[in-house]
């Protein structure tokens, strides 16, 4: 519910909305005054010191003022009933570190747009906020105070325009003041509404952008779904087709060996039998890699225990998971951990690895740590970048810390809810 809608409804005066509108405008005036001081002093001092280069960082800092101001404004908008203004399109810096953060900020339009808003707030908006509050609250209140003033001083100057000195007149002025106060409450609501709309229009993500972003995310999610379905289909085709035929073949060959008289034929049969067995073992590994059945049947915990079993490097497993998590989450998390364990075995030289994790506060968090030599480079064409994409489709993050000398730590975080908290966790 916004202040606008509240204005149209009944019982506006008795509700919290006039108070909220006042609080919105008063806090806006205070914030604007502070912003004005910061901007002016930053610009003046920074500009004066720019000659000796000391001022340049200060100027840069001043240019960034818009970012915290915008953040405060977005939160403050809730007072006016405008919930969840999507933050502007600040990009995530490509690398960690202050320098990268600064260049990203200074290069993007959102930073300058927010600075422009801060300047607007400091120069134009806050005096208007203050004026609105004074006119709509201060004026009626001073009129309402007339009888008190008359009783105390014998006369009261109303709005510095005319003098009242009799009790009846003072009472009439006071009544008028109260009526004006009621009208003022509506004025405040309207001003706060306009002000909030303006802030939202200037600070919110542009509609076109946000629509395109959702559409993009949706289509990526669809793609991942399609990819998963295809994986399952391939797994099933292999399982129900090629694998069954190979088993039948080894069975036939096994029986044939029993009945073959010793000699070259028996030797050939033994060889064929051995090869068929090997093909079967390879096929089994292949199918497992495509989509492990245990993940679908028993969930993430069992599948990770299985992955730990398979790892050539000993793995300590510490998991605190609820029953089951949504399928795409389990799949993405499982493959991320598998890839990490495979990298540990291939590149890290580690003697031990640990998988820890759990589900808390609506997030699945998994960490894979090893005691190897570190220095893993996610840019180096590792399978992790692809997995990061998959995790990001689920609004999750995959991060890697691997300083030279180790230890390497991979962290997967995916927001999700357990699908069935009562389901047994095998």
């Amino acid at each position: 519910m916004t202040v606008w809608r509240a204005l149209g409804g009944r019982g506006y005066l008795g509700s919290a909305w006039p108070w909220r509108a006042t609080a919105f405008l008063v806090s806006g005036a205070l914030l604007g005054a502070v912003v004005l001081v910061v901007l002016v002093s930053g610009a003046v001092v920074g500009g004066a010191l720019a000659v000796v280069l000391l001022g340049l960082p200060l100027l840069v800092l001043t240019a960034l003022t818009g970012i915290p101001v915008a953040a405060v404004e977005r939160r403050r908008l809730r007072l006016a009933g405008v919930d969840r203004v999507p933050a502007g399109q600040h990009r995530v810096p490509g690398r960690p570190g202050l320098a990268s953060w600064l260049t990203t900020r200074l290069r993007e339009a959102a930073t300058w747009r927010e600075l422009a808003y801060a300047v607007l707030l400091g120069l134009v908006l806050w005096p208007l906020d203050a004026l609105a509050v004074l006119a709509a609250v201060g004026l009626p209140l001073s009129m309402a105070a007339a009888p008190v003033l008359v009783a105390a001083d014998g006369e009261a100057k109303v709005v510095k325009l005319f003098v009242v000195d009799s009790a009846p007149a003072a009472c009439a002025v006071a009544a008028l003041g109260l009526a004006l106060l009621a009208a003022g409450a509506y004025v405040l609501g309207a001003v706060a509404g306009v002000r909030a709309e303006l802030a939202r229009a200037l600070l919110g993500a542009k509609d076109g952008d946000s629509e395109r972003v959702t559409e993009l995310v949706r289509s990526r999610a669809r793609l991942v779904d399609a990819f998963e379905a295809e994986r399952r289909r391939i797994e099933r085709d292999l399982h129900d087709g090629a694998q069954q035929r190979l088993v039948a073949l080894t069975m036939t060959l096994g029986l044939a060996r029993l009945d073959a008289p010793p000699g070259p034929l028996a030797d050939q049969l033994a060889k064929a039998h051995g090869q068929a067995g090997q093909a079967l073992a390879e096929l089994r590994e292949l199918i497992h890699g495509i989509h492990p059945k245990v993940l679908a049947d028993y969930g993430l915990r069992a599948a990770l225990a299985d992955a730990a079993d398979r790892s050539p490097v000993p793995v300590d497993l510490e998991l605190d998971l609820p029953g089951r998590l949504p399928g795409p989450v389990e799949t993405a998390a499982y493959f991320a951990v598998c890839e990490a364990l495979a990298n540990v075995a291939r590149h890290s030289g580690a003697s031990r690895a640990g998988v820890r994790g759990g589900h808390a506060d609506g997030r699945l968090v998994l960490q894979v740590r090893d005691d190897g030599r570190g220095g893993a480079d996610p840019e180096g064409g590792s399978g992790l970048t692809g997995l990061a994409d998959r995790v990001s489709v689920l609004d999750g993050t995959l991060s890697l810390s691997s300083p030279p000398g180790g230890p390497t730590l991979l962290r997967v975080e995916i927001p999700c809810r357990p699908t069935d908290p009562n389901a047994p966790c095998a």
Binding site: M251, K293, A305, A308, A426
Partner: protein
């Protein structure tokens, strides 16, 4: 080379949804003198067939219609709950501790087997495992055993490498004699190793042929 006639012919109920494999399995079992009293294609029919025929042993696939999840395994677990002591040999396409664990936890862990389907091709090994399970033994696929051996954790950490080797062979359902032959040691040495394994796994002497099974279970759960 073949020991064609078993010590006792078994009456087998077989559940496998692939017709190709079902026929193949019937062929192998018949070849070794066992009788397949029913060969069915889904878990429902398996339960019905066991009720109708009261077989000596059940051989079932894990994944079966209609859901192609682990219906066969669950049917096996259910059957063992209803008929304690019914020997069940489960064939799986996967090396999976979770599946094996669930099966072995049903009943007291005797008379169960968990084999990879690949093993069916080694027809003699397969039929040996069948006999072992039918006579109350526990058989775990060597591939599962191999995976478990990679994880050196308590209580197995206390075992010497040789003892682990012996325990792995016990898990595969081999007798002391067979283990002795495989490791090229005397049967008495095998007995000694097993005694020490049981002590280290806190399985004190009881009237216990089942202690071997308990050791295998400890091994699986480690």
């Amino acid at each position: 080379m073949p020991a064609d006639r078993p010590e006792r012919p078994l009456r087998v109920v077989l559940a496998e949804d692939s017709v190709l494999l079902r026929e193949g399995l019937v062929g192998v079992l018949t070849r070794f003198g066992h009788e397949v009293v029913a060969a069915v294609g889904d878990a429902e029919a398996l339960v019905a067939a066991v009720a109708a025929h009261a077989p000596d042993i059940v051989v079932t696939d894990v994944r079966m219609p209609p859901g192609f999840q682990d219906e066969g395994l669950h049917a096996a677990v259910r059957l063992r709950r209803e008929r304690p002591g019914l020997p069940v040999l489960v064939l799986s396409q996967y090396v999976q501790r979770a599946y094996a664990g669930e099966l072995l936890d049903s009943g007291d862990g005797t008379g169960v087997g968990y084999l990879l389907k690949d093993r069916v091709g080694q027809v003699e090994q397969f039929v040996d495992a069948l006999d072992e399970v039918a006579s109350g033994g526990t058989v775990v696929d060597p591939e599962v055993v191999r995976q478990l051996l990679r994880r050196r954790r308590d209580p197995l950490a206390r075992l010497s490498p040789r003892e682990r080797e012996v325990l792995a062979l016990v898990a595969e359902g081999r007798s002391n004699g067979a283990i002795a032959r495989a490791l090229v040691v005397s049967e008495a040495a095998v007995g000694k190793h097993i005694g020490s394994i049981l002590t280290k796994l806190d399985l004190p002497p009881a009237d216990g042929t089942h202690r071997r099974v308990l050791a295998v279970l400890a091994f699986l759960r480690a």
